[in-house]
Symmetry: C2
Subunit: 214 residues, 2 copies
Amino acid sequence: MKNHSCIDHVDIQNMDGRYRNNFINSLSGYKSANLIGTENNGLANLALFSSAVHVGANPPLMGLVSRPNTVPRHTLENIEATGFYTINSVSKTFIKQAHHCSARSDRDHSEFDFSGLNYQRLDGFSAPFVKESNLKLAMKLDDVLHIKRNGTVFIVGEIMSAYLPQEAIYDDGFIDHEKLSTVCISGLDSYHTVGHSERFEYAKNTKAPSSKFS
Amino acid sequence: MKNHSCIDHVDIQNMDGRYRNNFINSLSGYKSANLIGTENNGLANLALFSSAVHVGANPPLMGLVSRPNTVPRHTLENIEATGFYTINSVSKTFIKQAHHCSARSDRDHSEFDFSGLNYQRLDGFSAPFVKESNLKLAMKLDDVLHIKRNGTVFIVGEIMSAYLPQEAIYDDGFIDHEKLSTVCISGLDSYHTVGHSERFEYAKNTKAPSSKFS
């Protein structure tokens, strides 16, 4: 495609709020699709996040961006109150139910009740998993970093356990998300299936990378 | 898929380092694919990041996870030294060149020289863009947050300008990444084209979400 338009800082400021939300949320590219499960005082909560991001392998850490607690944010409140949560990959078989969990809801009206997704307990872990998910993580809160500019937070957690089908794990540790039918998100509301993949060898600056399975 | 295996904290600790890197890097699901362009003292740098994440729409903010400066990290050093950088979406036409930019390299051996990607200046911005990219962002550093547990950092930046083809922007501000041929990443080295998408209406907890274009 040619003829790139420049949309500058003033154009962005002048955008209508909903238009700007769609536009800016689209700029990072494809995003992970995960449901975050929490529970506090017997009330279970499930929320859709597209901001789960790798932070480190050893110790195994993952991050999440969350809006602040100045408006009701049950996920963040529950994580801070209990120290535990779950991360559940979204598969194409339940994207509609997952999107439903992005609805605003009272604390005592659980997403497990209205979305159709099933509550699951595993190995005595105190936060609930999504039964339908093909890849589930038990998480322990490590830190909450405050982004001063807009009051959002970056939640850092440690992966305590991972639940997934053994046949999706390759001999080198890589997990085949095509086998798990994992989807990704763009913008605020677009869910995508993922197609053809190509893996490359560890890159060196002295030669062009080769494909791993060619 | 049935028969989920549980891989627990001790299993993860006991993994071989390279296996653990592949495994843990796969757990967040599909990730965005972006090249970060920086320049300091006339030396240009280009690095592949799969951690670009939406932080806020107003002001327009994006985050990046980076390993610390304790080992040479030209991208982070250049961003902290100059305050400016670019984020360039990776399209399927140049995934091999993009992966090449993940190679370790001396500071005076620029990825623009060995990867085959072309250096581009736009509107006097001080950091370089990737000419081949279909969606390019001019970024201004806002803050660097330190993740104590493993020494990584979360770089927060403000979007100053976005360059993309007008025909990829919908009437509601949504950007069609299928039109831009944007790819996503899983694990450390797998690049995926993205297929069918479905957009949903703003979710309400009182009814199941409907598709936007059905």
